[in-house]
C-alpha cells in the first residue's frame, strides 16, 4: 500500500518549517517532494535599503547559529570592494570567533543528531558542553548568539591576556570531551546501527549535485574554502580538511567531530600566535562601483555572498547563497529508498538551516493545490476584502 505522509511544515523533527512529502510503501520511501517558502523574510531586499555598516547587522541575523559566518562573508566582500586591509590582529580575532562558532555549531548538531536518533543522553551531554563555548563567545563579544564583533576593516572588541587563558582552558576541556564523543558516536552499537549505511551519497553524486560542507566531505570530497581558497589568516595556520569515505550519516558524524578537533587546533594556534597591533582600520562611508563574490566556509558548508556596489553608501544588490540550499538536491537523493525512521536523521545530517535558504514564497490554494503569482498590492487588496466579508471572529468557522 503506497501512501503519502507529510513531514512538515509543522513536525517535531523540524525546528523550522519546510514541507517534505514522502510517498511511502510500508516503511520504505519511494518518492520525495520538497517544498520551500514557509519562512521568507525579505533579507536581500532589506539589505538594499541599509548602509554598508548597517548591513553587517542585517546579514548577521540571516541565521541564528552561523550568524558570524554570514557577517564575515559579507564583511570580507565589502572590504574587498572598499580596498580595505584590516590589521592582522583584527583578522585573527575575527577568525578566532569564527572557529569558536564552528565549535558551537557542530556540538549543537551532534546533540540534534543524537536526539533525532532517540539518543537523548548524547544530546544532553553535547549541549551541556556547548555551554562552555557559548560562555567563551559571550566573554569575547558580550553576546551568546549574535556576536556583532565584525566591523568594516576589522573587529569591534579586543581580547586580553586573561581572556586568552580562559579560551585555552575551555578548549582543553572541550577537546577531552569531544574525543569521548567521537568514541561514543563511532562505537555505541545502537547509535551506529541507526546511522551506518543510512542516507548514502556516493562521491560522484556528491560532486554532481553540488553538495557542500560536511555532507560533501563525508562522501570523500575534500572541499573546504579555508583550504582551497585560504582567505586572510587560514593560509598561515596548520590544519587538515576532515573527510570520511563511508558516504553515510555515520561519515557525517565523524567528519563533524574531526572538524571539532581541527577547530580546537586552530583556536589554540590563533590565541597563542595573536599578533600585536590595532584591531581595526577606519572604513569609508561609500564603496566604489563594482561587484564581488565572497566565499566563506560556514559550519554547514560553503557560504557565498554576491555584492554589487553602485558608488553610494548602500549596496545595489546582495545575494546570499546559504549552504543549506546547496545541499537540498543531495538530500532528495539521500532520502530515496530510505526508511521512514531515517527521514529525520538524513534530513538533520545536512544540518539544515531552513530560514537561511528561503528566498521565495509560493502561493498555493489550500483546496485545489493550484499555484499562483500575485503582486503585493493584489495580495493586500484580497486580504482587506476577505476581512470585510469575514464574520466576527468568535463566530468564525475556520476551515482546516
Amino acid at each position: 500500500m503506497s501512501f503519502q505522509i507529510p513531514i512538515g511544515p509543522q513536525h517535531p523533527a523540524l525546528k523550522e518549517p519546510i514541507s517534505l512529502r514522502m510517498t511511502v510503501e510500508g516503511e520504505v520511501i519511494t518518492d520525495v517532494d520538497m517544498r520551500l517558502g514557509y519562512n521568507h523574510r525579505g533579507m536581500e531586499k532589506l539589505a538594499e535599503e541599509k548602509s554598508w555598516l548597517q548591513n553587517i547587522y542585517v546579514t548577521e541575523r540571516i541565521c541564528g547559529i552561523c550568524s558570524h559566518s554570514h557577517a564575515t562573508c559579507y564583511v570580507q566582500g565589502v572590504e574587498k570592494l572598499m580596498e580595505l586591509a584590516p590589521p592582522r590582529r583584527g583578522l585573527y580575532i575575527r577568525y578566532l570567533v569564527a572557529e569558536l562558532e564552528r565549535v558551537h555549531s557542530h556540538l549543537l548538531w551532534l546533540g540534534v543528531a543524537g536526539h533525532e536518533a532517540g539518543f537523548d543522553s548524547f544530546f544532553m551531554y553535547t549541549w551541556r558542553d556547548r555551554e562552555i563555548v557559548m560562555d567563551l563567545l559571550e566573554m569575547i563579544s558580550g553576546n551568546r548568539v549574535h556576536y556583532a564583533i565584525n566591523t568594516l576593516g576589522g573587529v569591534r572588541r579586543d581580547i586580553d591576556e586573561g581572556q586568552k587563558a580562559k579560551i585555552l582552558e575551555g578548549v582543553a576541556t572541550l577537546r577531552k570531551r569531544s574525543e569521548y564523543y567521537f568514541y561514543i558516536g563511532a562505537n555505541e552499537p545502537s547509535f551506529v546501527a541507526r546511522i551506518a549505511g543510512v542516507g548514502y551519497l556516493s562521491k560522484e553524486s556528491a560532486i554532481a549535485l553540488c553538495a557542500v560542507g560536511p555532507v560533501a566531505r563525508a562522501s570523500g570530497v575534500a572541499r573546504d574554502v579555508r583550504k582551497d581558497d585560504p582567505c586572510a589568516v587560514y593560509g598561515e595556520l596548520d590544519f587538515e580538511v576532515a573527510t570520511a569515505d563511508t558516504c553515510d550519516v555515520l561519515g557525517r558524524v565523524v567528519v563533524r567531530v574531526k572538524e571539532l578537533l581541527e577547530s580546537y587546533k586552530l583556536i589554540e594556534q590563533m590565541v597563542k600566535g595573536l599578533p600585536a597591533g590595532d584591531i581595526a582600520v577606519k572604513a569609508p562611508r561609500k564603496a566604489k562601483p563594482g561587484e564581488v563574490v565572497s566565499r566563506y566556509e560556514a559550519p554547514r558548508g560553503e557560504n557565498i555572498h554576491y555584492i554589487k556596489a553602485n558608488g553610494t553608501d548602500k549596496p545595489e544588490r546582495l545575494k546570499v547563497r546559504a549552504p543549506t540550499l546547496a545541499n537540498y538536491p543531495a538530500t532528495v537523493e539521500m532520502l530515496r529508498k530510505g526508511f521512514i525512521a531515517d527521514i529525520p536523521l538524513i534530513f538533520a545530517a545536512i544540518d539544515p538551516c531552513i530560514c537561511c535558504a528561503e528566498r521565495t514564497v509560493t502561493l498555493v490554494a489550500a483546496g485545489s493545490g493550484e499555484e499562483s503569482v500575485v503582486r503585493m498590492s493584489d495580495l493586500r487588496r484580497q486580504a482587506l476584502a476577505r476581512h470585510q466579508n469575514a464574520p466576527v471572529k468568535r463566530n468564525a468557522v475556520w476551515p482546516l
Partner: protein, 323 residues
C-alpha cells in the same frame, strides 16, 4: 463485610488507588534516574524532590481539552484507554505481594496465574494497535503497524524467559515459584540469562528507548497517540506507568526471589526489587539510541529468542540433574 473488603481490595489496596500512587512514584523514580544519568536534575518543583510531578502531570492532562477526530471510530477510540487501564490494573492484582498465603490460594492467586499475568500484559499492545487504527491518522496508522511488528519480535522471548524459572520450580503459580526460589536462592543464578532477556523484552513491551519506535516523535510525531489528548491520553500514560510496575513486579517475583516475609517485609521487598528492575530499565533507556523496526525484529529473533531457548535448555537439564 466481605463486600467492603473486596471493594477496599479493588479500589484502595492493592487496587487502583495504591497502583496509581505507586506507579506515579515509579515514574518519578524512572524520570529522576534517567535525568541524573543525563546530567540533568529531573523533576524538582512539585512536592518534595518533585515527587508529585507525575501526579500533577496526570491531573493537568485530565483537565485538558479532549478532542476526538471526526474520522475516528468514536466509540472504540474513547473506550480503549479505559480498557487498557483496567487490563493492567487487573494484572497488578495477581502479583504475589498481596496474596502470599501459599496454603490458601484465593481468587487472585491460583495455579496458572503467571500465564494470566503474561496474557494481561500482552493485551495493552493490541489495545494500542486498535487505538492507533481507530484514530485513522497516517502517523498513528504507521505507529500501530509498528506496535504489532515489534510485538512479534519480543513476545516469544519474553514468554520463554519468564516461563523457564516456572518450569524449574515445577509450578504455574507465582507465589509458589517465588517460594521455591526463596528456599533455594542459589538456583536464581541459573536464571540470569533469562532475566537479561526478560528485562530487554519488557523494555520493548513498555516501548521505551531503544524500542520507543511506535511513538518515535522525530519520525511519526505522536505515533499511536497522535490523536489522543486530555483524559484519554492521561489514562494511556497511567496505563504505561502501571504496566511498568506490574512487569517489574513480575520479573521480581520470578527472577529475584519474590517477596518473602509477610505483608510488611514482603511489601518492602516488593518496593526494593521493583525499583531495582526499574533502575535497570532506566539505565538501558539512557544508554541506547532508538533502533529501527526491522532491527528490532531481527535482534529479537537472532539474539533474544535463541538466548531464551538456551535458558530453557539450561533449566530442563538442571531439572533433570536435581531430580
Amino acid at each position: 463485610m466481605a463486600v467492603v473488603r473486596t471493594l477496599l481490595y479493588l479500589v484502595v489496596y492493592p487496587g487502583l488507588l495504591f497502583l496509581f500512587v505507586y506507579s506515579t512514584f515509579c515514574e518519578w523514580f524512572d524520570r529522576k534516574v534517567y535525568a541524573r544519568l543525563q546530567n540533568r536534575m529531573g523533576p524538582t518543583h512539585t512536592g518534595r524532590f518533585g515527587l508529585l510531578q507525575p501526579i500533577a502531570d496526570f491531573f493537568k492532562l485530565m483537565a485538558k481539552e479532549d478532542i476526538v477526530p471526526e474520522a475516528a471510530d468514536k466509540r472504540l477510540f474513547s473506550i480503549l484507554p479505559v480498557v487498557g487501564l483496567a487490563v493492567v490494573a487487573t494484572a497488578g492484582l495477581l502479583l504475589p505481594v498481596w496474596n502470599f498465603d501459599l496454603a490458601n490460594p484465593g481468587l487472585t492467586s491460583f495455579s496458572g496465574d503467571i500465564i494470566v499475568v503474561l496474557y494481561l500484559l500482552s493485551l495493552p499492545t493490541l489495545i494500542l494497535f486498535l487505538a492507533a487504527w481507530a484514530s485513522t491518522n497516517p502517523f498513528a496508522t504507521i505507529g500501530g503497524a509498528r506496535v504489532l511488528t515489534m510485538f512479534f519480535g519480543y513476545e516469544v522471548p519474553l514468554f520463554l524467559a519468564v516461563l523457564s524459572p516456572a518450569i524449574l520450580a515445577d509450578s504455574w503459580r507465582l507465589a509458589e515459584i517465588a517460594a521455591f526460589y526463596q528456599a533455594k536462592p542459589l538456583l536464581l543464578l541459573t536464571n540470569l540469562l533469562g532475566f537479561i532477556v526478560a528485562v530487554i523484552a519488557v523494555q520493548a513491551k513498555l516501548e521505551r528507548t531503544p524500542f520507543d519506535i511506535p511513538h518515535a516523535e522525530t519520525e511519526i510525531v505522536g505515533g499511536t497517540f497522535t490523536e489522543y489528548s486530555g483524559k484519554k491520553l492521561a489514562l494511556f500514560r497511567l496505563t504505561f506507568d502501571i504496566e511498568l510496575v506490574v512487569s517489574s513486579g513480575l520479573l521480581a517475583a520470578v527472577f529475584l526471589g519474590g517477596f518473602p516475609g509477610g505483608a510488611v517485609v514482603g511489601f518492602l521487598h516488593f518496593v526494593v526489587k521493583t525499583l531495582f528492575v526499574i533502575f535497570l530499565l532506566s539505565l538501558l533507556r539512557a544508554l541506547t539510541s532508538r533502533i529501527r523496526i526491522d532491527q528490532v525484529v531481527s535482534f529479537a529473533w537472532k539474539y533474544l529468542a535463541p538466548l531464551a531457548v538456551l535458558q530453557l535448555l539450561v533449566t530442563i537439564l538442571l531439572k533433570g540433574l536435581l531430580s
